[in-house]
């Protein structure tokens, strides 16, 4: 077998090898996470920006006040989540979060995600590799205005269990928060963050 082919085969086999290990969890196992960290504004998309008379690109990226930036600062995020394993490798549950940062005006903006969250843990035991996706409601507010809309997230991390039940981990992911309106498209825009967090996990 040629070397590149062997390499490809090896890469394809890795997930299977990971899952082939004896699973730590059973269906019905539970997991509770407390998460805190920082959020970096990734992008902001306002397709109506120029139509509204504000000149600048529809897509802006990263924190800062410039015309091509998101007009948001690096902020903070905290969340709690509770999940139950439906399968030895997959847990499903809910997450309640709170994210904040500051707009160019210096006024704080907040987002409260209330998500259904699914986590796959292909590597588990003392060292785990959780991969999560979540989606659900988002409550966004700024300077007395508010909106209930939808959001989603994806996250990958690594964690180490100090005892059999308690572990700590680090995660990085992406939040995507589209502010949706059924009949007022001019008010629509989408905000995205990259959260980088520390997590304390209790499993049972």
């Amino acid at each position: 077998m040629k070397k590149p082919l062997r390499l490809i085969m090896l890469i394809l086999l890795i997930p299977g090898m990971l899952f082939a290990a004896e699973p730590y969890y059973d269906a019905g196992s539970q997991m509770f996470n407390i998460t805190a960290g920082a959020t970096v504004p990734f992008f902001y998309h306002n397709p109506s920006r120029n139509d509204q008379g504000y000149q600048g690109p529809e897509w802006t990226f990263w924190p800062g006040d410039g015309a091509d930036r998101t007009h948001r600062t690096v902020g903070g995020v905290g969340a709690i989540s509770y999940q139950v394993f439906l399968h030895p490798y997959i847990a499903l549950g809910g997450e309640l979060g709170f994210q904040f940062d500051f707009a160019r005006s210096g006024i704080v903006g907040t987002n409260v995600p209330i998500f259904v969250k699914a986590t796959a843990i292909p590597v588990q035991g003392t060292v785990e590799l959780p991969i999560s996706i979540g989606a659900g409601l988002l409550y966004a507010s700024y300077d007395g205005s508010s909106k209930i809309t939808f959001g989603c997230e994806a996250e990958i991390g690594v964690r180490y269990f100090i005892t059999d039940s308690w572990g700590v981990g680090i995660n990085v992911g992406i939040y995507i928060f589209p502010e949706l309106y059924a009949s007022a498209p001019e008010k629509m825009s989408t905000l995205s963050y990259i959260p980088a967090t520390l997590t304390v996990t209790y499993r049972h």
Binding site: Q55, L92, K147, I148
Partner: protein, 392 residues
């Protein structure tokens, strides 16, 4: 079981939220558009009141700028719908002058600023003496879509420019009002040439004309019309899109395309000639707009502003091809927020009104290689009254 209850609860919340999807105030846009000073978004400076405060159109409403804050005088949005409504076009001698666009035609009226009290009364103080040049009456029966509110039409407070139709005539015309001629209830309107119906004022006596079958935002073809020299330049004649959406300098001398190339109007063949292919950064999001340029006759300079790039200064003595291009002065302050602007003058200091962050003082000194520029946000305590910079 717990998971099912949790997911069911969130599903119910999602359904409830879906049923109420139109509630909300555009939260993300509000946060994005907010500025450090929370100033209203300046569109057009109209003049000053008797306390030397700037009177302007901002966020579609009539505002006063006191030097440190923007204060709404009249909520104009409640008077406006589509192309009709009440549009302020000048502030002078303690009065604000309005155009009232109605189904029955256009009327002009004025109101003393200190008697406005939050509303515009189109039935009071009607301007009856709107006379064209030579004493011929000009009846304005419609203000051009979409120029009067959305496009700056006052470039130097010497002249107010507008597009209009005459009763019984579907053609569109360019017209102007000499600011100095505004005197109480008398305004002299100067009729101008016929222009294509899909036109928009984008610079000092410069129009952008679109083809009839195009939509206003992204025209299939368009022209630049220089009123002063009766010049028409087709900016879609090249298929390489080089001129498809140029940004015109309000001085009528320069244009910048979306690649950042600087061009000048070539009077020999009525076309645009590139004089600097690396003049500015990509300006693609400055859709169909102008860059404000102030012509300073005393120092023989044209001073303009380029979004995100800085200030450019063109000395009128530089006329040959080799040194025709203006000097671009990089300004390091928070100038990337400066967009639509109006520029006034006071000696070697210039006042620049910006879209989002109020007023700025620009200083340009020296000539040639010694040319220097600086900019700082207007400070009422050290920069003096804004009216001193405007001089109307």
């Amino acid at each position: 079981m717990k998971t099912r209850i949790l997911t069911a609860a969130i599903a119910v919340l999602i359904v409830l939220a879906s049923c109420n999807l139109d509630s909300g105030q555009g939260v993300f846009q509000q946060a994005f558009n907010a500025t450090k000073n929370n100033y209203a978004r300046i569109e057009t400076v109209l003049g000053t009141d008797e306390d030397s405060n700037i009177i302007m159109v901002a966020d579609g409403d009539l505002y006063r700028f006191t030097g440190s804050a923007t204060e709404k005088i009249i909520d104009l949005t409640k008077y406006n719908s589509n192309n009709s409504g009440i549009v302020p076009f000048a502030a002078k001698d303690g009065n604000v002058y309005f155009i009232h666009n109605t189904e029955d035609g256009v009327k002009m009226f004025y109101t003393a600023i200190d008697k406005i009290d939050g509303k515009a009364d189109p039935e009071a103080n009607l301007l009856l003496n709107i006379a064209g040049e030579g004493g011929n009456a000009v009846t304005l029966s419609g203000i051009s879509y979409p120029s009067f509110i959305s496009s700056p039409t006052i470039f130097n407070l010497d002249e107010i420019q507008f597009l209009y139709k005459v009763d019984g005539d579907e053609k569109m015309y360019y017209g102007s009002v000499d600011f100095a001629s505004i005197n109480g209830n008398a305004i002299t309107a100067i009729p101008g040439p016929e222009v294509p119906e899909y036109s928009r004022i984008i610079g000092n006596r410069i129009l952008r004309a679109y083809s009839n079958d195009s939509d206003a935002g992204y025209p299939d073809s368009n022209k630049l019309i220089i009123i002063e020299s009766s010049t028409t330049i087709d900016v879609t004649s090249n298929n390489n899109n080089e001129y498809d959406d140029v940004i015109m300098g309000s001085d009528g001398h320069f244009a910048v395309d979306y690649e950042g190339d600087l061009m000048k109007i070539n009077s020999d063949d009525n076309n645009l000639t590139t004089v600097d292919s690396s003049f500015a950064e990509d300006l693609i999001y400055r859709e169909n707009n102008f860059m404000p340029v102030y012509a300073d006759t005393e120092t023989e300079k044209y001073i303009g502003y380029l979004y995100e790039c800085g200030i450019y200064v063109h000395e009128t003595s530089r006329t040959n091809e080799e040194n025709y291009r203006p000097s671009l002065l990089q300004i390091s302050d928070d100038n990337d927020l400066i967009t639509s602007a109006w520029i006034g003058k006071s000696g070697d200091k210039y006042l620049m009104a910006t879209q989002e962050n109020g007023f700025w003082i620009v200083e340009v000194t020296g000539n040639g290689a010694a040319l220097k520029g600086s900019i700082h946000q207007y400070r009422p305590d050290t920069d003096g009254a804004l009216s001193e910079y405007i001089g109307n």
